[in-house]
Symmetry: D2
Subunit: 342 residues, 4 copies
């Protein structure tokens, strides 16, 4: 049985393990100042088309989100997210653990309604009465793709940028699954465009072919002493070479996006197969996550043929499940799944 | 040229990479609930001779120290360390970053003078005048071996335990280099004894044969919701299997201690070679770190033949350097080093 | 012109200033161990009918909320509040500043819908899948009266207690305006009943006759080293006698509730006067806050005759204002206000 | 019996209570935007000769220290203090509670040795090896007078300023007892000079004639959104008028310094009386604290005739006690004390 619970069920792309093995006994300095890390930084910057940003590698997504936000925010500042944002719902209070409030707006298929966001920030800024009784929103947090697998368009990114510029906020994009955005035919935001429009973002490796690792890309000057904050948060890997090797491999010959394309193709194949069988898909998500609304009988059937993530209930009593493909999914596994559903 | 800066200059023991490779495409659940992690837990507990402790794996030492201390300490509580303790000097304020004060006592070759510690705690507890104006020491932090490569003896461990029992503190041992303690002929504290005498400790993998990883062993009941704190601190690895595989390999056929013995043998060989050449060694450290006092000429010579860590100055103007061996050091590299010193 | 912005516009009840003056040059020990504080503690406990609780005095409401929650909560724990809760909206992120997430539920006239609360907690406890990815709700925060001047009934308090008992949470009541609850004819929760049903609460002085000060009443054993946490939070007043004198005066001959009755009578008089003039009141709030829905013309009129607090907009474009009476309001000022409204 | 434990044993200067009483029923806005606070700000700035600084009032010293340091410091930054500094020893870990490390240097009669400080900072800044493993010292914390009643001279203040300028640190002076420095004949640092040389400092009211209150004076631009941080820390008094009235009274006709002169005169009288009787005084402290070294018999005698603060033991077994005078001390009480010592 193939599992579709998430996109971290396997290890990593074979090329990474090969390179880790072939370089294993080379001695390098620690903490990300080694030659592999420097090479990976250069490749990431080249892919971003932004030679002046700062690149630091961390191990996981929650760690990267919390460290970057802690590093940007002053004590009186807060971050704005949709309610369904990963930092708000699935990081065990990591952001609040660093002392900062998350202000939430409703999720519209995982995204902000940008008019709502604009109004929210404008009214907040205008409310000078409450000035000292409320936090100061200083960062807008989004993810690309979102928790629901949806995408912000380039137009929406530009609008986000404008809102942030108009009200002096930083724009931070969680890219834990960024590869699956870049590889989606529905996506019109290239990596260089995203890099230009965000103050900070990260390129997720853990879910896109690496054993682990996220490449944080930060506008130079935004975060002074970034490496010290990373160390303080326990996020500075001693053998930084491991992150360097992985991102160096992923950003050679566009491997990062190429392996993500497999996930998109598999997800699309799954969507077609499920739709053909009459299943209702939710959220219009064009990346590697597939959300299915199921009645009790359907839920039972899926439970027999694979594993997945429970994603809550609909008002009408039906349940939602999430199936996830990845760089590692075999297309045949989709055929089998569809066939097993009878 | 072989480098002796630290014990994290290479990757990992070959057996680990082999197992990571052979298990790479197996699908497992995430966050350390996979079968590799469960197997590793069982092996670690067996090695500790304490089937009732809780074992969780984290990625690095600073992370493990800060997460465990944050999890144990209440807001009004502090941790007692020698001034040279790693948490006090080399973790970028990680413990204070979680809100807790470190109370320091002088370092005696990296260790507490246990009479000083006993007096310190007794007087603190007796000083009810200042009750609400000072923090409450609640954890004694040590490392085995210490920052200076020295060891607490079993008698000293028992005395530490008694001090903690008498004054209701927890005893926490940082074992980032624990393998090099266990492998030292000078050591008389076995892993089961250490496990029995400490409330919490960790077995360091990063410096002893793993790519990364530390196995935290905690008295059951000491830390409620430990895994949630780990997640909140960004320390819960998505592909927990990577930690499981590594510790499972290290704790099969006593590999962890066996590879550490190489480091000890190399360090001993280095100490003999240097002593024979008239160099002065410091701290009487019987583990994998070698501290040498050098005049300007000696420092210059060492700088030409290898790399090392600067360890400060002596009162007489001489400098101290640290050379470190590891599981990966080739004995021949020691011969070369000694020969190169002329 | 009499102002109705809030209930902290004047100084304090005359009796307090008299006693501060008559005791001014007596020497006492500091930090709340003086005889005035001990006397006040005894009087507060007597009024609570609970001789075994712990009473500590702090200076203000935000301070008291944040200190108590920080003291109760472990790092992985969160507090549940309605969205309109004071800790969520008007304390500049103080609770998050101590590292803890606030989980919010919709406000129903300032209160929880207790079925919603029960469901929320039950489902959270049942969701063991997400166990380590989410915080652990450990405290239910309410205020009595609420931000909207409404009251929990005794039946509702008992239900809150049961929900907390069933799911092992603490119940914490913010009583910044508690006097105005106790003095309301609509209230059926006596101070001893509230004291019995809550794990922690505080009796607000700042808004009910004192210059400043809140009396925190905490179940003995709930918060170890409470005074140290108070000191750490900068909330331990050097001249604790000032808090002792004030609460001793307020809890002599039931002064606290008696002066609050004036606020209730004035608010009731205001509500009658406004209703008679055809104004629409909101929230059915039976305490010292009066919420009025106004069209542009009405808003303009109110702005000419008094000052108040803006309380947002209604969907239909009308505005909401809040008028507040207090222990210090002269009944004649209400007559004048109503008359001035023409 | 007159007590000499500390300088907060009495209430406040009579003029303050009179003004609080005469203004008691005036309605003002809250949170320090009232006319009394604005008047007090203007008077404090005039006394400082620095019309461009920012003045905010807080309630107590620990609160003011922690709030200012939290507001200035970024996560990776630390504060440098002498070991005997109040923030290091008597604030229950408040600074660490906000996430920041205190780096300590030896105390020389309560003060830095400025050569030691210069060397410490220079070497720290030069040690780029450890860059990301250690915090970044960003504030120098001193108090004037110090914990031991000693004073920094104007020359020393200028040197402190230069050290801070050379290495880009802020200079912060804790002035909990500043009045007693200003009133000492041994002092050569006027308030305008101190205001010019520090980035931030506060003028202590609690120990110098007020019921409570500290006036923080901060270089404009140093702390953005200062009032929000104050609110977040529970340090923004609702009835800010109370602080306004007190500092307005204290800074009218130089009352603040004039009442402090009484404490100095009484302390000087005490020092002369004790010296005449052969007692050994310590620390050469020219302000309102008197430190006496006592053998067992002397300690016993003092214990019978007054109360004081225990200040530890000397190497030779003798004890140190501290006697404190204040604005409220009657000169006759000193005569009585000396007479009672026989």
């Amino acid at each position: 049985m193939t599992h579709f619970d998430s996109d971290y069920l396997e290890g990593c792309h074979a090329k990474i393990l090969e390179t880790l093995t072939s370089t294993n006994m080379r001695q390098t300095v620690g903490y990300g100042r080694d030659e592999f890390s420097e090479e990976a930084r250069a490749k990431v910057l080249a892919a971003c088309g932004n030679p002046d940003a700062e690149v630091e590698f961390m191990v996981g997504g929650t760690q990267t989100n919390a460290t970057i936000l802690k590093a940007i925010l002053r004590p009186y500042e807060s971050v704005v997210s949709v309610e369904s944002g990963h930092i708000n719902g699935h990081e065990a209070g990591a952001v609040e653990g660093t002392g900062h409030k998350i202000l939430t707006l409703p999720s519209h298929n995982g995204k902000f309604d940008l008019d709502e966001l604009e109004t929210f920030i404008s009214e907040w800024r205008a409310n000078t009465n409450d000035y000292e009784h409320v936090t100061w929103p200083a960062v807008v947090y989004i993810s690309q793709p979102t928790e629901l697998g949806t995408l912000y368009s380039l137009d929406e990114f530009r609008r986000l940028r404008k809102i942030c510029d108009d009200h002096q906020l930083s724009l931070f994009a969680d890219g834990a699954r960024l590869g699956y955005a870049l590889a989606s035919p529905a996506n019109d935001v290239s990596l260089p465009e995203l890099a230009k429009l965000c103050d900070a973002f990260y390129i997720g490796g853990t879910k896109v072919g690496a054993l682990f690792g996220e490449a944080a890309v930060v506008r130079r000057g935004l975060i002074p002493h970034f490496r010290t904050v990373i160390k303080q948060d326990g996020a500075l890997l001693a053998k930084g070479r491991l992150l360097g090797v992985q991102f160096s491999v992923l950003f050679t010959d566009n491997l990062y996006q190429r392996i993500a394309e497999n996930a998109i193709a598999c997800a699309e194949k799954m969507r077609k197969g499920l739709t053909a069988k009459g299943y209702e898909l939710l959220y219009d998500a064009p990346t590697n996550q597939v959300f299915v609304a199921l009645d009790a009988k359907g839920y039972d059937l899926f439970s027999r043929v694979t594993t997945f993530t429970d994603w809550g209930h609909l008002a009408n009593g039906r349940r939602v499940i999430r199936l996830t493909t990845s760089w590692a999914t075999a297309p045949e596994a989709i055929d089998t799944l569809i066939a097993d559903l009878g």
